[in-house]
């Protein structure tokens, strides 16, 4: 009896190409192959592309989107959506700059204040969405306006210059490992992704992220406090945006209160990485490769002299292509 059970178990776990293609791991493998093809194409097209230094340039360019994407991936797996990310990024940079110039709290205080702003915005989003059932799209767009307005008011519509060399090092220094010079922002991004990958894969919280995204009512009936998890996830998304904002301010040497938000680039990277807007599926690995893919595409096109106007079009086309394939694979 035990023997036969093990036998069926093995058969059920056996490799099935169609089932794999439909799974979230299949999406990651597909993206990885696409990434390798794009790298191969650009390597033959431009002599400057396949180069360690260029690789590090790509790494720095994608790190801001990457940090924010990693955090909001969890929220989106759970079926949430956060459009206040870009506004929080700007707010966090300005708040960090002001704390550095106006107080003696130092770098620690600046980062803590920025993270607190992100957590607070996320908490407000989460409270209204979880407890009152307000549509996440509406709520977080409203927060985007509120935060953007408050940030402009706080900064008196001017950039806040940062001079503290230690703070600037967060965005501008390099870590030397052997022959490699890794830009600090890339390292922060990889660190964030590693931690969140661990959380999603091995912890109870990670399991509940998938469960809430699968069927929130079933979780509630199973005794899980869905509201608390939802609020925590919006807070995490806000904290991720704030951390990205801190790194961005360190790269730019200033907290800049205006400028288009990057929330749509963040959300499209997460979706490209295989997270469904309906929730329940997705992996951090997918977000990482999607962020890399977009970064490589932009960098390669720049090296080939393709105008930034067409680059935007290409980014949109890639997203449309990805979600189209996602729909089609369900018919396998």
């Amino acid at each position: 009896m035990t023997q036969s059970v093990t036998q069926t178990d093995r058969n059920a776990g056996g490799f099935n190409l169609f089932r794999f293609a439909r799974s979230q791991e299949g999406v990651v493998v597909f993206l990885l192959v696409a990434l390798m093809i794009i790298v191969a194409v650009f390597s033959t097209a431009s002599p400057y592309f396949f180069d360690v230094r260029n690789g590090m340039n790509i790494g720095r360019a994608i790190s801001i989107i990457g940090i924010a994407s990693a955090f909001t991936t969890l929220l989106m797996i759970a079926g949430g959506l956060d459009l206040s990310i870009g506004a929080v990024m700007n707010a966090a940079g300005v708040v960090a700059a002001i704390v550095l110039s106006e107080t003696s709290l130092g770098i620690g205080g600046a980062i803590a204040a920025a993270v607190a702003v992100g957590a607070l915005v996320g908490w407000v989003n989460g409270m209204f969405i979880a407890k009152l059932g307000i549509n996440p799209l509406i709520m977080t767009i409203a927060m985007q306006f509120i935060v953007r307005g408050l940030t402009l008011g706080l900064a008196a519509s001017a950039s806040k210059v940062i001079v503290d060399p230690m703070f600037l090092a967060i965005g501008q220094s390099y870590f030397h490992i052997g022959p490699l010079s890794i830009p600090a922002p890339l390292l922060w991004m990889l660190l964030a992704m590693l931690v969140l990958w661990f959380v999603l894969r091995f912890t109870l919280f990670g399991k509940y992220v998938y469960a809430v995204g699968g069927k929130a009512s079933a979780c509630r009936r199973a005794g899980i406090n869905v509201n608390v998890i939802t609020i925590q996830l919006y807070m995490l998304s806000g904290i991720g945006a704030a951390l990205a904002g801190v790194v961005l301010a360190a790269i730019q040497g200033a907290g800049i209160p205006y400028g288009a938000g990057s929330e749509l680039s963040v959300i499209s990277a997460v979706i490209l990485g295989g997270v469904s807007l309906a929730g329940g599926v997705g992996l951090i690995e997918g977000t990482l490769i999607a962020v890399l893919l977009v970064g490589v595409l932009k960098n390669g096109m720049t090296l080939m002299g393709i105008s930034s106007v067409f680059q935007m079009v290409a980014e949109g086309l890639v997203l449309v292509g990805a979600v189209t394939l996602d729909r089609l694979k369900r018919r396998l």
Partner: protein, 247 residues
């Protein structure tokens, strides 16, 4: 039945604005007893059991567990009182595995800070549980989305069996089942009864109701209009009560 009932509903009611979904229901459920709840659509059956499950809150009356009054503000509270419910839609996360669903809300973890999942242990326990219940699911790693209706039902049943409840509520459990699967379900309910558990089952299947229940509660327009001993009544009488409200 004598002694203290496991659960007693006293004048339980639920209003939605001007609509009385359930009105003044009095019902006691004893250990080792199976009660069938029958009635037409919209008779208040589902609303009634959702109040016992903590999913809805009553607007009047009170609930007593083993003689002491309780208030369920969340399904969690009902679970703590050892009441487990299988809903009509089964309340499964289809994107998760059979094991994940069996342990949903009761996951085994180690390290109180990180709360790391003990996957291997949960898979092993799920396998043992499914084999013990005689439930045919090939792998506990399988995602629920890939399961048949009967296998999904089995997963929901395994979750309830695992929780070790004293009262099990089933909302139309055989609606999506084939003949053989229905048989297995009825046997399982009878087995739960011999373990001293109380069972409350909503069903439209008269034959099933007469086979497994001790008493039958008939709901009509939000009211509990009659409770009959199964041995002392007939399907005709029950159907007549459901339709006309009297014999």
């Amino acid at each position: 039945m004598q002694g203290t009932p496991f659960l007693e509903a006293r004048n339980i009611g639920k209003r939605y604005g001007g609509l009385h979904a359930v009105r003044d229901v009095n019902l006691s459920i004893y250990p080792g007893e199976v009660i069938g709840i029958v009635g037409d659509n919209g008779a208040g059956k589902s609303t009634f059991i959702k109040m016992l499950a903590g999913d809805h809150q009553p607007t009047s009356g009170e609930l007593l567990i083993e003689g002491s009054p309780v208030r369920f503000a969340h399904p969690r509270d009902a679970k703590q009182a050892q009441i487990e419910t299988i809903y009509q839609d089964l309340a499964l996360c289809e994107n998760l595995s059979v094991m994940d669903n069996i342990f949903l809300g009761h996951e085994l973890t180690r390290n109180p800070v990180l709360r790391l999942l003990q996957r291997t242990k949960m898979h092993t326990e799920s396998r043992v549980l499914l084999d013990d219940l005689g439930i045919g699911i090939p792998s506990t790693h399988e995602l629920v989305v890939n399961l048949s209706g009967g296998q999904r039902q089995a997963t929901a049943l395994a979750r309830v069996a695992k929780a070790g409840a004293k009262l099990i509520i089933l909302d139309e459990p055989s609606a999506a089942l084939g003949v053989r699967e229905t048989r297995a379900l009825l046997d399982l309910i009878l087995r739960f009864r011999t373990q001293g558990k109380s069972i409350l089952v909503i069903s439209h299947e008269m034959r099933d109701v007469f086979e497994i229940t001790d008493r039958i509660a008939i709901f009509k327009r939000g009211e509990l209009i009659a409770i009959k001993r199964t041995k002392e009544t007939t399907p005709d009488e029950i159907v007549s009560l459901i339709i006309r409200g009297r014999q």
